[in-house]
């Protein structure tokens, strides 16, 4: 079975700017795929390459095995939930959702019935007659979702769909999106700069950096076995120990990622000692930054553990297997 979306050495250059630079990836059908990266890393451009709003300057994109270089956006069986939702302001919710069927020439009754079904799917029954301007951010987001699903796409693209929502709503929508994807069984490609969102929702995560993919893997692989310093740092701000430090702790002489939650503050048996230079209260725990010889090390202390005072000297310890040797710095 061909992959839902396949990139072969795809590039998109804008003049001298290499927005996407030699990307290879393969998204299996039915997966929830997250493209994670800071702004300007090329993830949104990749999404627009799939939807057809951008053309690659090099390489080939296949959707379900079919080369889609010459297929315009309106002929691709792919739909998008836009970052700003892009609802049509002059149409009511029902007509917004039914738009995809309207332009196909489906009669009014059928398309309105179908729109109501989709509104029910996103829990917006009875909102069909309202204008987008009368809805809250979360409701608009659901309308955008229903509208994008009406053509029964095999791939749904979501461009930072939760970015404009407040925290509480965002968490609720994360669960709903995940449940929806499992229910529909179609491929979701989800762009986000929020690593927590990517890790909690996706089956596969691609971490983007400067137009290239730094790492592709399951959330656990990305989090626990970051391949580069960038991935270690971007996905959960890990400590990165230099090659020399790693060697002194008995690891191979290569950069090593060490998760803050794997480090303990101890009195005896410390691997290294240093002074506490910053404390950050995070609710679920406290982040302690320790200035150790060779670099700063962050420690995450869960709620309930005793927090050292700022300026005090502490000893740090961790298990050997907590150190993940990376391929490059």
């Amino acid at each position: 079975m061909p992959a839902a979306v396949e990139f072969q050495n795809v590039s998109r250059h804008f003049g001298s700017v290499r927005a996407v630079d030699g990307v290879d990836l393969s998204i299996a059908e039915g997966t929830f795929f997250a493209m994670l990266g800071p702004s300007g890393s090329g993830k949104t451009t990749c999404l627009r390459l799939i939807s057809g709003f951008e053309q690659p300057t090099g390489g080939m994109i296949r959707i379900f095995g079919q080369d889609c270089s010459d297929v315009p956006p309106n002929r691709r069986n792919v739909n998008t939930v836009f970052q700003d939702y892009a609802l049509f302001p002059h149409m009511n919710v029902r007509d917004n959702v039914a738009y995809g069927l309207m332009v196909k020439g489906v009669d009014k009754r059928t398309r309105h019935d179908r729109a109501e079904e989709l509104l029910a799917l996103v829990k917006l029954e009875g909102y069909g007659g309202r204008k987008p301007g009368e809805l809250s951010g979360g409701q608009r987001q659901r309308v955008a979702l229903a509208r994008a699903l009406i053509n029964e796409p095999r791939v749904l693209l979501l461009d930072e769909p939760l970015g404009a929502l407040d925290l509480k709503l965002r968490e609720a929508m994360q669960d709903e999106l995940k449940a929806l994807q499992q229910r529909l069984g179609i491929t979701f490609v989800f762009v986000t700069h929020d690593q927590g969102e990517a890790l909690s929702m996706a089956d596969q995560v691609a971490v983007f950096s400067e137009g290239r993919i730094a790492q592709i893997g399951t959330p656990a692989e990305i989090y626990e076995k970051p391949r580069t310093r960038f991935v270690a740092d971007f996905v959960g701000s890990s400590n990165v120990l230099s090659a020399e430090m790693a060697a002194s702790f008995g690891a191979p002489p290569r950069p090593v990622s060490l998760r803050p939650e794997s480090v303990r503050i101890v009195d005896d048996g410390a691997r290294i000692r240093g002074q506490v230079i910053a404390l950050r209260y995070l609710g679920a725990g406290t982040r302690v930054v320790v200035a150790a010889p060779g670099g700063e090390i962050s420690v995450f202390l869960p709620k309930g553990s005793s927090v050292p005072e700022q300026g005090r000297e502490v000893g740090l310890a961790w298990d050997d297997q907590a150190m993940h040797v990376m391929e490059q710095g």
């Binding site: 309106n74 002929r75 998008t80 892009a86 049509f88 738009y99 995809g100 332009v103």
Partner: protein
Amino acid sequence: MRSDSRPPLILTVGAIAGLLFLHLPILLIFLYAFTTDERTYQFPPPGLTTQWFAVAWNRADIWPPLYLSLKVAALSTVMALILGTLCAAAMARTRFFGRDQISLLIILPIALPGIITGMSLRSAFSIMDIPFSTWTILMGHATFCIVIVFNNAVARFRRLSGSIVEASMDLGANGFQTFRHVILPNLGSALLAGGMLAFALSFDEVIVTTFTAGQQSTLPIWMLNELVRPRQRPVTNVVAIVVFVTTFVPILIAYYLTRGGSETAGGGK
């Protein structure tokens, strides 16, 4: 800032006096269209009559200027609608080097005194050996009509989310369907308002027209010439009523169409 207390009496009186000062002369124009005295504008009018409407109707010299004015206004509105919308689309949807400068150049004709526009066009026409005709008037009027349409359309384009066009394509619509179902409904009232204002401005324009008309006269120019003659004066007032109605009604409609939006409707002039 808003307060619920009543404004001081002097402000109320001042405001009413100001409005009267602005609008009473217009009522006088209407009044003198019905006077029985044809040489002087004496007050109060010695008697009232509707005969001047019939006289005006039968005066052969009114019809060509009226026809010319309508034609010029209609054509420059159409021209402005097409060019102004295209300009606005380009300015609102793409970023390129010098965009702001070009945007300023488009708006400039409305900020320039009409006499400068008129003079520069006149010398340009004479340098290029273009004889004065309806087309030269049209070009003069287009300079400010385009701005009106542009201002209205660009404000609307900015309010529209750029991605709704992409959303339409994404959902399977072709270019024509996108224009018909998404762009036009969102631009429609702005274009109608812009077009009506442009029509009204063109219809009563005098300054630029005097420099670009040559031997022809539009209705406002005919009125200007007529005022210095002491013959059948109230006919001019009858024509003034016609001008008033043809320009005021579109402006009123334009005002109601763009109300509620924050866009600039007229933008001066």
